[in-house]
Amino acid sequence: MTTAVVRARMALLEIVGASKWFGATLAVDDVSLSIECGELFALLGPSGCGKTTLLRMIAGLEIPDSGRILIDGVDITASPPYARPVNMMFQSYALFPHMDVAGNIAFGLRQEGMDRRHIAARVGEVLALVQMSDYGARRPRELSGGQRQRVALARALAKMPRLVLLDEPLAALDRKLRAETRIELIGIQERVGTTFLVVTHDQEEALGMATRIAVMNRGRIVQIGTPAEIYERPGSRFVADFVGEVNLFDGELTTGFNCLALTVAGFDRPIPLPSDTLLPEGAAATLALRPERLQLCRERPGGFAVAATVSSISYFGGASTVHLAAGEGRLLKARLPSADAGCLSRGTAVWASWLPDDGVVITR
């Protein structure tokens, strides 16, 4: 292979077996990850899963107890934060209160020894990028939360780092602003082409923004994939449950009705599994089924169906979540457009059905 091709294949960020202890707690447990140039990568997980610690290790604000971190193939594990080609947008923005907006953005450039004219030009460039061109002389305390966030982003982009880290970038914004800002962030990232690594606990944020997601739990990475892969093909119970709503059926494999099925407690008939399932008879498995895959009708449809009673309906504007009591003491969740759910009410008897290939088999 030629050197050029090798270089192109080299990951931008590579983490190899990183671990970090805080006292007796293992915050990051043997994490390995690689991120390509130009990605908008998300680290998703509940609080306490180690994602922020991992982010801080990449930034250089924490040193891993074991493992290595490489950027463009260069080992930066022990490098101090000011020597890394990585910049961070902090959750609290961390804008310097005693400098104006332009001063904040210029700070990093001044550390490089750039001359004044180039600094001024660059500051103007990034301010235009985040649409804050008129705010150069303002102080942070004069800005709104959303404006401060733009300045924080501009400051992180000013030095054209190889990797920009964003710590819960949308957490402080209200819902509407969150959606708009998410789209803007994607636009900026595409325009500038810098690799972004976003840490978030909000799965909607991760699914909506990222090109690839790594789901973390208890210091470990449990699954890496595109948003669609994570959502449609969860690899573990945790991922299935954490990302979006899900119906989970635990049982044992059995054969019958020309396909593999799952005997599940509380259901009188086995539940058919997807056609590509390759598991031995008697093996324990879990079937994950997304609520939007359930079809509800009053008459018994052909094919596999389960009798259920509506126990509650949660209205969410365009769509509604219908909770059903089925079998013996089992609860199912279905998601329908509200127009269709309108005819249902508490106690209505329905048939819930789905196609075998709608579900995903999980063995962990």
Partner: protein
């Protein structure tokens, strides 16, 4: 902070540590050493610790000074007098300072900083001069007596100066801000909701105060009391300017031993005993001040 490096740490810690070691800790040791020496003619006016009588370096210590302190009851009376005056002053500071601190803590937010500033301002204007001002007020023909006579409350001037009354007044006047500030700190940190909860549960204002406010302000009371008591015990200026012939406080005794009697070893012995007596309160004060900070 990340990356400050060993040399940086060494400088930041070492510089003040060395300074304080040399100019605070070592002097205390020297005081101890000289308290074990004898007064002598010459410069310096005390015998040295080491001497060579031809057969090697020897140490000469004398406990004569401490013996003197025990035997001459002047010193014991002075210690007790100082302690008594200081304790009374502390109690009075608490009595007067608590309502003031409470009032400031409950004042509208915008006023609080201003009020604290006004409390602190006298503290920042010459202590000596303010004490001296009281002389003009408390003299037999001073302002207070004139006022009282003019309003007909008394016919002859009251002896308000050069006695225990003026000393206590001076102590309370000078040390009041030291009581108010920690009290304010404690009281302002008190969550209003707790008082409201007490009221909601049926407690009247006095009861709510005794059961909720007072106990929760104990750290402030303790810190303030120590900040007043400890320095007040060794106070010199106030007993000297405002005290009379029968005012006996150890700070003044130390000064007199040193400047008037030129007996440095005895003065040192007085100091050693004073520090020893105050050692436990000082350690308590350190504990409380640390707690206040981290609370």
């Amino acid at each position: 902070m990340i990356g400050i490096g060993r040399l940086g740490r060494l400088t930041l810690i070492g510089l003040p540590f060395a300074w304080l070691g040399l100019f605070f800790l070592v002097p205390l040791l020297i005081v101890l050493k000289i308290s074990l020496a004898q007064s002598a003619i010459g410069i310096p006016p005390y015998t040295s610790l080491f001497f060579d009588d031809g057969s090697g370096l020897k140490i000469q210590v004398s406990l004569a000074n401490f013996v003197l302190l025990v035997h001459d009851d002047l010193y014991l009376r002075a210690y007790l007098g100082a302690l008594g005056n200081a304790a009374l002053a502390t109690a009075l500071c608490l009595l007067f300072g608590y309502p003031i601190a409470h009032a400031i803590a409950r004042a509208p937010k915008a006023w609080r900083h201003l009020l604290l500033f006004l409390v602190m301002l006298p503290f920042w204007t010459s202590f000596l001069i303010r004490v001296y001002a009281w002389i003009a007020i408390l003299k037999p023909n001073g302002l207070l007596n004139q006022l009282l006579i003019a309003t007909g409350l008394i016919t002859a001037p009251l002896p308000l100066l050069y006695n225990a009354f003026s000393v206590e007044l001076g102590l309370v006047y000078s040390y009041l801000p030291f009581m108010i500030l920690p009290l304010y700190g404690s009281l302002s940190a008190l969550d209003e909701c707790l008082i409201e909860a007490a009221a909601d549960l049926g407690a009247r204002p006095v009861r709510a105060f005794l059961a909720v406010t007072l106990p929760l302000s104990l750290p402030g009371i303790a810190a303030g009391s120590l900040l007043v008591l400890i320095p007040a015990v060794g106070e010199f200026v106030i007993p000297d300017l405002l005290g009379g012939a029968d005012t006996l406080m150890i700070g003044k005794v130390l000064w007199d031993e040193f400047f008037n009697n030129r007996d440095w070893p005895v003065a040192s012995a007085v100091a050693v005993v004073l520090v020893a007596a105050l050692a436990i309160p000082i350690l308590f004060a350190q504990k409380f001040l640390e707690q206040e900070r981290t609370a």
